[in-house]
């Protein structure tokens, strides 16, 4: 409890409006921080172990089930990893169609996060449910936007959650012209909704706490593109490296308290996700997105983690425009089944790593297979896992500055911070240590 | 009967004009197979393709169809029948599928006329096409090599290129006169080419039932306890594929759906299949056909015994679809021949 004199004891069990189960535990006395943890209480799921002994073709359909929200991202990363392991280079058509799916997922996740999970905080209500009555238009708009984003995933992957048609070296089916044209039309129409979202956020932007903390930002880079799907692992601190060398960038350390195996670059926490991407690649944003970033008061890099939400809105614009571009490309050249090789994959021994930007940051899937395509090793590194150490570092920096606030407010600020990172705990639990708090 | 001929180009032109006025469906490619689907460009149509996944019956009797819409807001619930009488031109209907439609007519358009089926069926315009059999076809065994009626227009390819056309109905004549300007009168020569094609088609059929179709009701009636059923029943998945793809099957289930606010709803019918478990289960849990062999007996007897006795023609048209879609190789010809052989053995 905060008594306004520097004593804090905050325990938020099962943070709501995040994916998965997590607790916040912060304790301070006399203005000194004593304990500060983001605890993951999700049950362990053993994904990496379950992959061993399975065939190369199963990895994608198993790992996409790690997370309901970023299943397309897991799919893309898994496919890249497996293709690199078996020395397969898919066609440009395959890459581009996967990217389109990824755009859909980024949009859908950002919309879900901004409208359903963050907006209630900013509007001072406990969930989106009361908004259905007070802000019907906003909710309807949110549903419309989310639906569109979902439909992009569905058209590219065959299903809204856990894509079906994305395979090693290709697709089992392609979108039809009508489907693509329909999506394009809706995407273009959605620009108005997006504009409305920007205006809404603008009226609420002052509710985002002013809090700055310098840290390293890590994301894919591939100039001159604002990259989500290919390129190298870039950093605001070090030189970019190839995905296969991810281990030189992402070090898994074991920290003594409950959260073993946090990933740290050079031993220090770093941030991945929308803001990291923005900070590294903002100059390559499309003009429409740049404009929105400016409007929202974030023309260039920022060190305020609450601004992840702004970066997400900027990315909504970016991904909308890129999706239109990709669709135009496919409407123009169509699909050539001849270019698709998913039915002629020959397993081959090797090791490889996939790296894609999912909504919450960079996601690695590393596989080793034997010459029959049986998986002998698997390592999956999830963005939320990479961010956890950074969240705690933020806590450590933030708490001393807000110790004089009321308990409720501290709790809210901390919850909002966690939510800003949009942690996906169900993903993270495949690698995080867990401590059960009853 | 008058005979006409048309070349490929003339046909394409005619069909393009038909398409301006009508919804046209025809077999199109889908992966390595074909399905009946709407077409906008005649060059997409594969009117001679055999073994579409589903037969064209789906346009007269759709897989899922709303029979009634009802409102629940008033004091008395009110229902309204839903009918679809949009004309549709089915191009590429082969003689077996023409026979299939006739078989379904016996039931759905027979006693207690089903207006929903009737509305669609009477507005389904049949452009029959001749075809070349694959290894599953056995039309020659069940008398469906050639369609004597049941089509508006019928097209048979001829060796000199193009097709000869036969007109089967007054409606067919009207359509012919309106759209087929490029057709010319044909004579004895073309008729011989038509016969020629049919001859080659008959010779290309490789699957044969070893008894005249008229003998089959007795064969099946006598085989109710045959071990053949147990043998095939042991591998049958009870997956219903065979029934669902059959051009003469019409069993259905009825389901109600209501809007989430409870104000309105609809009553749908959805294809069902007698080969599925629980098809014959009644309240209290009694299942009148609890095993796969029992269900197979029923299905196969419906084709060559029950319906054949009742309506005077086999309710298997030799299309071969059930054999193509059965993953454990249960098909009408194999089963029939095993039963026939068994009985011959018993007689001998």
């Amino acid at each position: 409890m905060s008594n306004g004199n520097g004593n804090v004891d905050v325990f938020v069990e099962n943070i709501t409006r995040v994916e998965g189960h997590g607790n916040i535990k912060v304790r301070a006395s006399d203005g000194k921080l004593e304990e500060c943890q983001l605890q993951i209480t999700e049950s362990p799921r053993y994904y990496e172990q379950m992959l061993l002994g399975r065939k190369w073709y199963d990895a994608v359909h198993i790992t996409c089930r790690i997370c309901g929200i970023c299943s397309t991202g897991h799919t893309c990363s898994s496919l890249q990893g497996m293709e690199r392991a078996m020395g397969i280079e898919p066609s440009e058509q395959t890459h581009k169609l996967r990217e389109l799916g990824l755009m859909g997922e980024t949009l859908q996740s950002h919309y879900l996060h901004v409208y359903f999970l963050v907006a209630p905080d900013l509007l001072g209500v406990p969930s989106v449910v009361p908004l259905a009555e007070t802000h019907t238009d906003v909710v309807k708009m949110a549903l419309r936007q989310k639906r569109l984003a979902n439909d992009i995933c569905c058209v590219t992957g065959g299903r809204h959650i856990h894509p079906l048609s994305m395979r090693v070296n290709g697709f089992t089916s392609f979108p039809t012209k009508e489907e693509l044209a329909g999506l394009k039309e809706r995407l273009i129409a959605s620009r108005d909704d997006l504009q409305a979202t920007v205006e809404l956020l603008l009226t609420l932007a002052d509710k985002l706490p002013a809090f700055e903390r310098e840290c390293e930002y890590v994301a894919l880079t591939n100039p001159p593109r604002y990259e989500f799907y290919s390129g190298k692992i870039g950093s605001t601190v070090t030189e970019p490296v190839e995905p296969n060398d991810y281990k030189s960038k992402v070090i898994e350390t074991t920290v003594p308290h409950s959260h073993a195996k946090f990933c740290g670059s050079d031993g220090k926490p770093y941030q991945v996700g929308a803001l990291a991407r923005f900070n590294l690649n903002h100059e390559y944003l499309k003009p429409e997105a740049k404009e929105v970033a400016k409007t929202l008061g974030m023309p260039g890099p920022s060190t305020n983690p609450y601004f992840i939400n702004i970066a997400q809105v900027v990315e909504c614009v970016e991904t909308t425009e890129y999706a239109v571009e990709l669709i135009d490309h496919f409407l123009d050249v169509g699909f050539d089944p001849e270019q698709d090789g998913h039915r002629d994959v020959k397993p081959q021994a090797g090791r490889g790593t996939g790296a894609v930007e999912v909504p919450r940051g960079i996601l690695f899937h590393e596989y080793e297979v034997d010459d029959e395509g049986t998986i002998v090793d698997a390592n999956l590194i999830i963005p939320t896992g990479q961010n956890l150490a950074n969240v705690e570092a933020d806590f450590e920096a933030l708490v001393p500055t807000i110790l004089d606030k009321e308990h409720k407010e501290i709790e809210l600020l901390l919850e909002m911070l966690v939510r800003a990172y949009d942690p996906c705990i169900s993903c993270a639990t495949h690698l995080l240590n867990v401590e059960w708090i009853d | 009967m008058e005979l006409y001929k048309i070349d490929e180009k003339g046909l394409a032109e005619a069909m393009a004009r038909v398409m301006e006025d009508y919804r046209v469906v025809a077999p199109v490619e889908k992966g390595p197979k074909h399905v009946f689907d709407d077409i906008e460009d005649w060059s997409d149509a594969r009117p001679m393709a055999v073994g579409t996944v589903l037969p064209p019956k789906k346009y007269a009797f759709p897989q899922r169809e709303t029979l009634l819409r009802f409102t629940l807001t008033g004091e008395t619930p009110e229902a309204e029948a839903v009918m679809d009488d949009t004309p549709v031109v089915m191009a590429g209907v082969h003689p077996c599928d023409i026979a299939g439609l006739r078989c379904i007519d016996h039931t759905l358009a027979g006693r207690h006329f089903d207006e929903h089926y009737g509305a669609r069926r009477m507005n389904a315009i049949v452009f029959g096409f001749d075809c070349m059999p694959d290894e599953h076809c056995f039309c020659t065994s069940v008398g469906t090599l050639k369609a004597e009626s049941g089509y508006d227009l019928f097209f048979t390819p001829i060796q000199t290129g193009g097709f000869v056309i036969r007109i089967g109905t007054p409606r067919g004549r009207q359509l012919f006169e309106k759209y087929f300007q490029h057709a010319e009168g044909a004579g004895v020569y073309e008729e011989s080419l038509e016969a020629d094609f049919r001859q080659r088609k008959a010779e290309a059929v490789t699957a044969h039932i070893d008894a005249p179709v008229d003998d089959l009701p007795e064969v099946y009636q006598e085989s109710m306890d045959s071990e053949v059923w147990d043998k095939w029943g042991a591998v049958c998945f009870s997956c219903g594929s065979c029934s669902l793809v059959c051009p003469t099957c019409y069993c259905f289930d009825v389901q109600d759906r209501v809007s989430l606010d409870g104000s309105e709803g609809r009553r749908d019918r959805i294809w069902d299949a007698c080969t599925l478990p629980d098809f014959a289960t009644v309240a209290g849990g009694h299942d009148f056909r609890p095993t796969a062999p029992k269900r197979l007996i029923h299905r196969h007897n419906r084709k060559f015994n029950y319906q054949q006795e009742r309506y005077g023609e086999p309710h298997c048209t030799g299309c071969g679809r059930c054999g193509r879609s059965c993953l454990v190789h249960i098909n009408m010809v194999t089963v029939a021949n095993e039963l026939i052989a068994e009985q011959k053995g018993e007689e001998a």
Binding site: - | T76, P77, A81, H112, F113, R267
Partner: protein, 277 residues
């Protein structure tokens, strides 16, 4: 060219529930009339499709006397979702009915003959639509035996009717239960154990049977022992039904549809159908 049909054999007619009575834990009797005022006009043994929008339809036999222009009655056992919903209905409720459908017991053919009517459980209601007109025209028939078996004494339906029928001269009601209890001092055993008490002129006797699937075979054996010819035994069969009008295929037995060619069959026909009983 378009054939426009706006009527449909699947549109039910609105009816109003006049009153209900609950004789047993599972069964309720529903008295119903058409909102249009039209009489149902059913024959003995016929059924209707009861229709509840949002739930579905179920075939239910008419248990009231043919010729009643005011109302008709059904006895419904609560076994599933539609029957359950029916049991929840209050007087005055509106629902839908299609029919009557199916074949009837041949009253005219039976005239002047001895009758043996055998019912098991929920088989009594359909048989009642035959018994009632027989009782109304009692002198047109010979001896009448009504055999009724239930699992327990608590499941007995139309107890008052049974008692009243038994009072009528030349009419014998015989009852049995599978399992007795202290309320029961009658016969215990399956319905066939009642047959020794039946005495009829076999060459001049008609029989009617309605009951659970398992019952038919054994009752037919008893009737054969009595010497009743197959041609003069009638039975109402139950099958799953979705349409009631010979379309949906669920009730097909060999060549016939139970809904259209039945539910009442002459045993000499049913005998040769492999799946009938």
């Amino acid at each position: 060219m378009a054939l426009a049909a706006d009527s449909s054999i699947y549109v039910p007619e609105p009816v109003t529930l006049l009153e209900t009575e609950q004789p047993t834990e599972l069964e309720k009797v529903f008295r119903v009339k058409f909102d249009s005022g039209r009489p149902l006009g059913h024959g003995p043994g016929q059924f209707v499709q009861v229709s509840l929008f949002g739930i579905g339809e179920a075939p239910i036999s008419i248990c009231s006397c043919p010729g009643n222009d005011e109302y008709f009655e059904m006895t419904v056992r609560n076994v599933g979702m539609l029957t359950n919903k029916m049991h929840q209905m209050a007087d005055g409720a509106k629902f839908g009915v299609r029919g009557p459908f199916g074949t009837t017991f041949p009253m005219d053919e039976m005239k002047g003959k001895d009758l043996v009517m055998v019912a098991g459980g929920i088989g009594l209601p359909p048989l009642r639509s035959l018994i009632l007109p027989v009782m109304e025209n009692r002198d047109e028939f010979g001896k009448v035996f009504i055999l009724f078996g239930t699992r327990t004494p608590q499941e007995i339906l139309f107890a008052d009717d049974l008692k009243a029928w038994n009072e009528i001269p030349n009419t014998t009601v015989l009852q049995t239960v599978d399992q007795g209890d202290d309320t029961w001092d009658g016969n215990v055993g399956v319905v066939t154990t009642l047959f020794p008490q039946v005495s009829v002129d076999p060459d001049n006797t008609y029989a009617a049977i309605v009951g659970p699937p398992i019952m038919y075979k054994f009752v037919v054996m008893e009737l054969a022992k009595l010497g009743v010819a197959d041609e003069r035994i009638f039975m109402s069969l139950e099958r799953r039904m979705k349409c009631g009008v010979g379309k949906c295929g669920h009730c097909q037995i060999n060549q016939v549809c139970v809904c259209m060619d039945g539910p009442v069959f002459r045993y000499s026909e049913a005998r040769d159908m492999t799946e009938a009983i």
